[in-house]
Amino acid sequence: MKRSGLKNLGRDARVAVGVFGIGALLLAGASWRTSVDPAAGVAGGFQSILGAYPASLKLHFLVMAAVCGIGIPLGVIAGGLEVPWLRRGAGALLLGVLAVAPFWLGMLLIESLVNHARLPVIPPLVLGGESEAASQVPGGWMGWWFAGLPASVLAVPSIARVSFEVRRVFGEVLADASMTAVISRGLGRTRRVYRYALPASRAAILRTLKDVLPFVISGSLIVEWIFRYPGVGTRCFEALESGNHGYVLSAALLLALSVVCWRAALDGLEILFSARGRRRQ
């Protein structure tokens, strides 16, 4: 296990090199036969992207925390259901939640919170207003509140996606022949789940978490703009409007590198968990 985790870390480093290569190709493709100088766009925009990145990182962190804290336990509960129709029903429900487009959910949330609850949802409350207003986000707890709303919108389909996959993996592990031996030893249900089924499905759960990351980041392009959240997504939306494609692609490159870092962190977690598992044995 430990060796495979280290192997994955090595692979992440090679993937980072590949991301640079593809990013360069995409930038070259976008700059082909255009009047806008892509080099100037990239050079001028990179500082702006780095300036907006901490806000986006906060958003992604909140989404991933919600996915780990809610999505995985929900999937474990749904996968461990013993009544077949209940398990299938839970799967259908999760698919239904997954089918909700995040930007539509965001608009519904804004409408209901602003029109009915009269809550300050967007930093300076502008809908279809000036872009420079988006750069003013209060610090402290209000900052977390303004990050929390787009994060919750982004988190809902991601939680459903992770729960659906965890439910599937967990159900397969529990139905596996090796589990029959565990049951015959007379172990209780809770012990079976936490001692055997969870460690057995750990690799698949981490893989699902790795897969959901680009999905979250893609969704943030529109959701950040809808909430006027001053992250990379909002800046890219405005850059698309002004035709600055080099800016958007360099942001995509930076976000792809951040996905590689997140994946490396998840691989590090795998190494940590497998070391703990070995110590227990």
Binding site: G18, L108, P214, L240, V259
Partner: protein, 290 residues
Amino acid sequence: MIGWQWCRARLGALGGIPPWPLLLTGVLVLALVLSFVFLARESRKGSDSRDASEGFELLSPRADFPWGANKEGENLRPMVLAAAGRTTVVAICAWLIAFVLGTILGLQASAVPGSMALGLLRRFHDAWSCFPLLFVAAVFVLRSGGGFMATVIVLGLLGTIRVSAEVFETLRLVRQRMFYRAAKATGLPAWRVWMNYSVAHAAGTAYSASWTWLPAAFLWEASLGFIAGTQGRPSAGLGAVLAEGHDYLLDAPWLIVAPGAVLTLLLFLAYCGRAFAGARLRGYRRLLNA
């Protein structure tokens, strides 16, 4: 296993009940036909409905306008259904491109000899899967004008990369299996081995893998339409209707409820197909890995 031979075998075994690939394809074809019929009806009566509803700007839902009316007084129901038809047509066309090109590219990639090529292809796919592809798709679609064809081609090509990676992986496993080596050892002509094993397995895998791409095609078509719509560019899907509704979010919230609900329904159906096809693909992979 999942290819044409698999279909034929199951068709016989189930006493004429169509197997799942045919069922799913039937659903897709039906959706496509319904979309075209609805679009044709919509374009025929286009201007009449506008004249009839003049003076009903931003009308909330009521008996004669069950889904409300937009700022130009157009009845929202036929408008949303026509937009859903356009979204469906774009997504299915992208699905078709991903299926056909994914099969061809996967077959080509698996024919490349040597472990270095294999490593490079895998690395490319790993790196590509890290990119937030909506950003990339938005750049290339908006750069080429944001029309129907541009969206179909960009979404189809993005799906092709994913499908071809799956096909490539399946063919790698197939070539390690004993039945493939036995078929080669029996002295069958190379083209028959290619047709009976490589193409059949590649097509089956590409079919399932392209179904796993379909929900993303629906969602991204709507997202790209939304981006184009909010920027005043030409677009005509559910995303464009939602973008129009976004401008009146606080005054006329019904403008986003109906198109969003229809999009959710379409996505739900696509995700059901994805879950079904994904389960078959995993079972098939498990069989090849055993």
